[in-house]
Symmetry: C2
Subunit: 176 residues, 2 copies
Amino acid sequence: MDKRPDPIGFGFFAFVKMNIFRIKSSYMFSKASQYAIKAIIYIWMKSLQDSKAGAKEIGSEIDAPEAFTAKILQQLSRAKLIGSVKGPNGGFYADESHTNKTLKDVVRAVDGDSLFTGCSLGLNKCSEKNPCPLHFEIVGIRQKLDQMLTNKSIKHLAVEVIKGETNIKRILQVNK
Amino acid sequence: MDKRPDPIGFGFFAFVKMNIFRIKSSYMFSKASQYAIKAIIYIWMKSLQDSKAGAKEIGSEIDAPEAFTAKILQQLSRAKLIGSVKGPNGGFYADESHTNKTLKDVVRAVDGDSLFTGCSLGLNKCSEKNPCPLHFEIVGIRQKLDQMLTNKSIKHLAVEVIKGETNIKRILQVNK
DNA sequence: AAATTAAAGGATAATTTTGTCCTTATATGG
DNA sequence: CCATATAAGGACAAAATTATCCTTTAATTT
Ligand code: FES
Ligand code: FES
C-alpha cells in the first residue's frame, strides 16, 4: 500500500522526494524526422520559387539547430530525396526528379523503417502468426499513417505553407 | 540494412561511401512504454490466476531488463495503475480497483502525453488555428490510437494472452 | 522480536539521440 | 586560375533514454 507523504499535508517533504522519474516526450517521429520533414517541405517551397536553400537558412526557417539540420540534409541528399549543389549560389533543391519521393521515404531515410514494420511492443518481429496484444489494432493505425506519408504530396504540402494555410515554424505566443 | 532502390541507377557509388549515419529505431512507444504495457498485461494475467508477480519474474517473462522493469513498475504503482505489496509473497497485482485503468493511462504515466497532445512535427503547440502541414492528417490517426488505448480492456488483452492468441514475449525463431 | 523477502528509492553507468565545431572537398563567379 | 561560398564529412560534446547496482523501507513468516 502506497504510504508516500500526502502532498497537501506534507508538501515540503513531497517536494524533497519529488520527481525521481523524468518526464519524457515521445512523439510518432524522432526529432531528426521532424526536422527532415519540415526541411524538405521548406526546400520545396524555395524550389517552387526557383531558388535554392542553404543549410543555415533552412535550420533557422524551420526552428531546428543548424548543424544538426545540415547532417539531416546530407542524409536526404544521399538518399536522393533532394538535390544539392556546392559553392556560391549553391544549396539544396527539389525538382521533377524528386516529385515522386514521399514523406515515408524521408522518415525511412532518417529513422529506418521500424516504425512501419517493427512490432509496436518491441517483439523481435511483427507477425500475424505470433501477434503481440496490440498487433491487430496497431496494424490498422500504422497503415493509415503509412498511407498518409506515401500519398500526401510534399510539393502540395509546400504550396499550403506558401499560401499560409499551415506552418513549418514555431507558433508565436500571440494567440490565446 | 536499408538499401532502397536507386531509380537513377548509380547505387553502387552510394555503397562506397556507406553509412556514416547510424540506423535508429523509432517506434510509436518508447521502450519504457512498451515494457510498461507488457508488464501490466502480465500482471493482469497473474491476477486473473489469483497470484502476484515480482519485478524479477515480470522482467524475465516480458523480455525486459529486470532492474529497469522494476523502475517502471514503481511508476505504474505510484500512478495507482497497479497495486504492490512488499515482503514475502509480495509483488504487483491488479484488482477491481484497477479495472477502469487504460493503456493510455499507462503510456501517459511513463511517457507523458506529448504523443497524444503535442504537435507531430514538434511545433511548440498543436493547434487547429496554426496547424503544421501534417496536422489535419495526424489528428485522425492520433485519435484512432487514442481510442484504441482507451477502449481496449487491459484485462481482456491479458485473457487473450492466456488463451495463447497473442504473445507478450519475444517470438522464437521457430516459425517461418 | 527476528529473519526473510520483495518493493522503493538513490546513485551511477551505458547507450542512443541530439547537437556542435572544425576541416575538407567542390562548384561557381570573377 | 583564384577566391569564395557552400555542402560533405569527421570528431567530439551534451542531453535524453535505457539499464544496472546497491541501500533502505516495509511487509510476512517464523
Ligand atoms: S506483433 Fe506487435 S505489432 Fe505486430
Ligand atoms: S499542429 Fe502539428 S500536429 Fe497539430
